[in-house]
């Protein structure tokens, strides 16, 4: 479930990145790299787990599925927080800089 959630996030991010390319002012590439990297690594985890459990791998207990979904959503939230922090620090549109240097009237 975690793998599935991350793959969906990776595909959606890549589609949005492609739609806006070559303009990368929102730094969406960072999200794409994070999600694709994690997806590949969890794919390896899934393959090893499948080799161990065989068909049982596809019939997880509902509690495990829920926990994995919760984990997947938390991973997406963490990645998005990292992305927002990096975006605000890099400030490619200069909005933060403008706001900070704006003189009070």
């Amino acid at each position: 479930m975690t793998l599935l959630t991350t793959v969906f996030a990776a595909v959606i991010c890549t589609a949005i990145w492609y739609k806006n390319a070559p303009d990368n002012k929102m730094n969406l590439g960072l999200l794409c790299w994070m999600f694709w990297g994690a997806s590949l690594m969890w794919l390896v985890d899934a393959i090893f787990e499948y080799a161990e459990l065989k068909a049982e791998y596809f019939t997880p207990a509902p509690a495990d599925m829920l926990n994995d979904l919760f984990l997947g959503l938390s991973v997406i939230a963490l990645a998005m927080v990292i992305w927002v922090v990096v975006l605000l620090i890099k400030d490619p549109k200069g909005i933060i800089k403008k706001a900070l240097t704006k003189k009070n009237n």
Partner: protein, 137 residues
């Protein structure tokens, strides 16, 4: 248990290599040995340092999210030695086995995907050059 440490280690090594390659690319060495600083490469070719960054981005990003998963499962803890499996020799042995199997495969897969990206990038670069040549003819 700590499989993400293998791609993390690879990412650290590749990051250092990227910095070295980047420095070399910014310097243009003449035949007589004098060195010119090159501000920007104006050619269409993607610099190798940029290609290396694709790999580091993939591995750092993935390792970071996997590290969070390990914290979630209580396998990474905020106190020394930071890996819960290290407190028991049997668990530690299992952890090292997992690192040598799952971890190494993770590093290999990300590197293989990156190699695939390089092949695609090379094909696109070559296509660009041949397109430019056909326009000038």
């Amino acid at each position: 248990m700590a499989c993400f440490l293998v791609p993390t280690a690879e990412a650290a090594v590749v990051t250092v290599v990227t910095k070295i390659v980047e420095k070399k690319e910014l310097k243009k060495v003449h035949v007589d040995g004098s060195v010119d600083e090159v501000v920007k490469d104006e050619t269409e070719k993607i610099p190798f340092s940029r290609k290396l960054k694709w790999l580091t981005n993939l591995q750092w990003g993935g390792s970071l999210l996997l590290a969070f998963e390990h914290v979630w499962h209580g396998e990474v803890v905020p106190w020394f030695p930071f890996l819960s499996a290290m407190s028991d020799p049997a668990d530690a042995a299992e952890m090292f086995h997992e690192m040598s199997t799952v971890g190494v495969t993770m590093a290999l897969l990300t590197t293989t995907v990156w190699a695939g990206m390089l092949v695609v990038a090379n094909v696109i670069e070559k296509r660009k050059v041949s397109d430019t040549e056909s326009v000038t003819e």
